[in-house]
Amino acid sequence: MKYPNFMMKLAALAAIVAVLGGYQSVASARAAAVAENEAAIEEVEAYNREIQLENARRQAVETYYEDGTYEGEGKGYGGPIRVSVTLEYDVITDIRVLSHDAEDPAYFSMAEALVQQVVSGQTTDVDAVSGATFSSKGILEAINNALDKAVKSEN
């Protein structure tokens, strides 16, 4: 063999890629099954949320937050991150990132996934993305900051 070192490392790399590929096909099959279940569950939950919202509207229940859209700011890796949070009957219906000028783009795009997690879990108590800790913390801080502003004054 002409390049024993190169060939050996190539074989090792191919083995690792093959193992990860095998893992990926198993994980994908599992994810597809889970997604099917989750879609069914989400359908029921969305229906429940609607009923809850409808009841709240009808009975004018006391809410903790004032309905509306609020802006909040948090300290990210390189500077401030600003978000807007929309609340309706204490449900976080939407979160938008307004600005993140000082974040490194590759890092920020990793942390941005947290926004969806907060909306679906209705909590800011989620884990930071490994490797993008500071952008993650900045986003969560900004959301909390917006939520603080939304608290009704009598509370």
């Binding site: 090792a12 990860l20 599992r30 994810a31 795009s109 490797g131």
Partner: protein
């Protein structure tokens, strides 16, 4: 050539200081996904890992030698320490970690890689992280010009210790501790990407290239087919007979042009991977 290298390093230090961290976060992201049993995603960290790995397979460890911000920090600290010791303290030679320990110490980085990958894959990495131990995080505060520890006490101490090491051995972190360096060293780099040494032409008993090598490669024994080579090209300049070369250097009859071309390609890759600030 030394000036060109310093200039290229300075540009990459300012423009993409987070590249090595993003690439290694790609490794972590893969094995954290494995620990959760979730599907592997091509996120921006994994893209950075694949991009820099591909570049290394094609061109050798040019990224390590010319573009990694942490490597540049190491070169700067070593240069500064040499300057202080010889000019200020009037010592003849800079304090050095003895060469005979180097091959053993170089093995530590594979252990670092194995420990982090295992911790991610079995799902204990998050627990480890609460101790704020990561010296790279502290370094990232500095490159964003925030001179704060942010609660990273252990990370700060480790970074300080690494800087002391950098002062005593050229490329201390890269060759002994860097988990990303471990991956690059294990990658199959195309044989044509390596420098070649024309032994027939060598002056008998001359070891100038080996003496100059920051990562202790014994060129007269091992040649360049060695993952440890960080592609700094220092050996090429020190050879009295200009015996160390590569196809591209021969082709353009110039040592600077290949470096500039690779630097521009890498910068383009950095823009593509959104690693450029």
């Amino acid at each position: 050539m030394a000036l060109l290298r310093a200039a290229v390093q300075a540009v990459f230090f300012v423009v993409m200081p987070g590249a090595f961290m993003a690439a290694f976060s790609g490794v972590k992201s893969i094995f954290l996904a494995v620990s959760e049993g979730s599907v592997l995603e091509l996120n921006s960290f994994v893209a950075a890992l694949l991009g820099l790995s591909g570049f290394t397979v094609l061109f050798g460890r040019f990224f390590c030698g010319f573009a990694c911000a942490f490597g540049t920090l190491g070169d700067f600290v070593y240069w500064l320490s040499g300057l202080v010791q010889t000019k200020l303290l009037r010592r003849k030679k800079q304090v050095q970690i003895p060469e005979r320990f180097v091959p053993v110490l170089q093995m530590i980085k594979y252990l670092v890689l194995a420990v982090i990958v295992t911790a991610c894959a079995v799902g204990i990495y998050a627990n480890l992280n609460q101790y704020n131990w990561n010296p790279w995080s502290v370094f990232s505060f500095l490159t964003s010009l925030r001179f704060t520890l942010n609660g990273y006490i252990i990370g700060g101490i480790l970074l300080a210790a690494i800087i002391v090491g950098m002062a005593c051995k050229e490329r201390f972190f890269c060759q002994f501790l860097c988990p990303m360096g471990a991956i690059f060293a294990l990658l199959p780099q195309f044989p044509f990407s390596a420098l070649q040494r024309d032994e027939e032409n060598c002056i008998k008993g001359c070891r100038a290239c080996s003496m100059k090598c920051p990562v202790g490669i014994k060129l007269e024994k091992d040649g360049f087919r060695n993952g440890e080579c960080i592609g700094c090209e220092k050996c090429t300049g020190v050879c009295p007979k200009a015996n160390i070369t590569r196809w591209d250097r021969k082709l353009v009859r110039n040592e600077m042009l290949p470096v500039i071309v690779k630097a521009v390609l890498l910068l383009g890759l950095g823009v593509l991977l959104r690693l450029v600030r």
